[in-house]
């Protein structure tokens, strides 16, 4: 663990008398290593290290009887402060039906997460309605319809021959007629560098004005997380992020990278394949996980 590594660093430094600013460099190397091994983006780590360095060379570490624990405490606090933030929930204080759109790379977990959000909202007494707007992936519409059936949540009968924009517009009118109060839109996975498909998302956004555009990102994403998050945020000014597959053993450094580069909050995490596997994001738990 990081604490153990830092303890042995400080043990060998302490043998030479009082800790100095130079000694701390050794400890900073271990922290940097831990973050890179956790898949935090290279540049994000660089910025983060500058952030904690000023605290690390301060009295709280140099005069501490347990400098290793102190450094870990600082790193932990700074991680929480970076990833934490106010708006964790969904903003649902609007005139219904409130459109919420989920976007992201191929295979990140959007369709499953749309269904999970539907279940979450139904559990809160809401009337979620789902729109399958992915006409590219084979059986994507069926996938969401089956999930909706499992939960007794209405799913729009999208016509795969129509364009996603048309499906969303029809779906909105359908939800209004059905007295739905939250409209969850599942979009096709796409590359952040595919201009035509990114434009397609912008079109849907302009037409439906979703109150929440949420980026669904895989927790095991590596260095590329910053590129993806940046592009989706530039195109859509996302409201938040949902990090999936946190039931695995990925350290999840992508969480820090995404937050650092977009400034947008991580609202939920996916912790399993079943529809009840959705939790609210806790920055302190994520910080511990990243540090390993």
């Amino acid at each position: 663990s990081l604490t153990n590594k830092l303890s042995s660093v400080f043990k060998k430094l302490r043998g030479h008398g009082k800790l100095s600013e130079q000694n701390i460099n050794e400890a900073m190397k271990e922290v940097r290593l831990a973050l890179l091994e956790a898949d935090v983006n290279f540049k994000v780590v660089k910025d983060f290290m500058e952030r904690i360095r000023s605290r690390a060379i301060g009295k709280e570490v140099l005069e501490s009887l347990t400098p290793a624990q102190q450094v870990v405490k600082i790193v932990h606090e700074e991680l929480i402060s970076l990833m934490g933030g106010a708006s964790n929930g969904l903003n649902l204080s609007y005139k219904p039906p409130i459109p919420i759109m989920l976007v992201g790379l191929q295979g990140s977990g959007k369709t499953t997460t749309v269904a999970k959000l539907g279940r979450f909202l139904k559990g809160k007494g809401r009337r979620p309605h789902l729109i399958p707007a992915d006409v590219r992936r084979p059986a994507a519409i069926e996938q969401l319809q089956k999930l909706g059936e499992q939960m007794g949540i209405p799913v729009f009968n999208s016509n795969p021959q129509e364009k996603p924009l048309m499906i969303c517009q029809k779906g909105l009118r359908w939800a209004e007629a059905e007295n739905g109060d939250v409209l969850l839109i599942d979009t096709a996975g796409r590359l952040h560098i595919d201009e035509a498909l990114m434009e397609e998302l912008k079109e849907i956004q302009r037409a439906l004005l979703p109150r929440e555009v949420l980026l669904v990102a895989d927790a095991m994403t590596g260095q590329d997380a910053v590129n993806v998050a940046q592009k989706f945020n530039e195109a859509l000014d996302i409201h938040g992020v949902i990090l999936t597959k946190l039931d695995g053993d990925a350290r999840g450094g992508a969480a820090l990278s995404i937050k650092a580069v977009t400034g947008k909050p991580i609202k939920f995490i996916g912790v399993g394949e079943k529809l009840d596997a959705l939790e609210v994001f806790h920055p302190d738990r994520m910080a511990s996980r990243i540090l390993g």
């Binding site: 290593l33 890179l36 091994e37 956790a38 898949d39 983006n41 290279f42 540049k43 790379l105 191929q106 295979g107 990140s108 977990g109 590219r136 992936r137 084979p138 059986a139 994507a140 069926e142 996938q143 969401l144 089956k146 999930l147 499992q150 590359l191 952040h192 560098i193 895989d218 095991m220 994403t221 590596g222 260095q223 590329d224 590129n227 993806v228 597959k245 039931d247 695995g248 053993d249 990925a250 350290r251 450094g253 992508a254 394949e273």
Partner: protein, 277 residues
């Protein structure tokens, strides 16, 4: 990085960034750079451009040893099991591979052994229709081993050349799901000695260091004989396969470069290293 004649700390820092941001990993990056640093110290390397070439050569050496295309043996049916964590592109890759084998004049049968995920069977059936091959399936929720059993017997009785088994995505850390996978493999072995002839692990190029953990645990559980690296049409470099190749020595079969049926290429170590940085 090129066009700079002096090798200094700045250049090495630049190279470190390029390697790490390609998901090569910290330890592998340190090993690669240590090697060139030694050469620089011994004055064996004094040109910045040659330094970059040297790094590429090191990576090429590791990857070229695993550049082994999948070749169908004389076994009939040749049984391929496709495995991996959730969402990496297994089902799509199966569709692409079926196309390749059909183009080689082989008869192909697909087995829908993902009986868990919503519409997984329908998804594979559509690929079967696109490529022109049958799909063996049972009801959703059936025992995957039972579907594989059916598939093997259908392949034998129809004289099928290649059978490709689609399995459900599963995290390598889920013991019960890994046990299920082991059971599927045992059924295949029992019904056809020598099979499965290929156990193909599908890895997502956007995944970071966790790919190593995935490769190790799937390899430990069922023995991986080939790797497909998907989604290389994005901006992720997939550098993690250098560490995987170095440690596990598993053949690199294909790369996925898109969502269409012909977006699958045989792995080329030279192309990969040139695209890396």
């Amino acid at each position: 990085v090129a066009g700079r004649k002096k090798i200094d700390a700045d250049l090495l820092a630049e190279l470190e960034e390029a390697l790490i941001t390609s998901d090569i990993g910290v330890k592998t990056t340190q090993d690669l750079l240590r090697d060139v640093s030694l050469k620089v110290q011994r004055k064996e390397l004094e040109d910045a451009d040659l330094l970059k070439k040297n790094l590429q050569e090191q990576m090429y050496l590791i990857l070229s040893q695993q550049e082994k295309p999948l070749s169908l043996s004389a076994a009939r049916p040749f049984v391929i099991m496709v495995i991996g964590v959730n969402g990496t592109g297994k089902t799509t890759t199966i569709g692409k591979m079926a196309q390749i084998f059909k183009a080689q004049g082989k008869s192909v049968l697909l087995v829908a052994a993902d009986t868990f995920r919503a519409a997984a069977i329908e998804q594979l059936e559509i690929w079967g229709q696109r490529v022109g091959c049958d799909v063996i399936k049972q009801k959703s929720g059936a025992d995957p081993s039972a579907v594989v059993f059916d598939g093997l017997h259908a392949a034998k009785s129809r004289g099928i050349d290649v059978i490709i088994v689609d399995t459900a995505g599963r995290l390598h850390t889920k013991v019960n799901l890994m046990e299920e996978l082991k059971k599927v493999r045992r059924i295949v072995e029992r019904e056809m000695p020598g099979a499965p002839h290929e156990v193909l692990l599908v890895l997502d190029a956007t995944t970071g260091q966790n790919s190593i953990s995935q490769a190790k645990m799937f390899h430990q559980a069922v023995g991986v004989t080939g790797i497909v690296l998907t989604k290389l049409d994005g901006t992720a470099k997939g550098g993690i396969i250098i560490a995987i190749s170095n440690e596990l020595k598993i053949p690199l079969r294909y790369i996925g470069i898109g969502e269409k049926v012909d977006d699958l290429r045989e792995f080329s170590a030279r192309d990969f290293v040139e695209a890396l940085f």
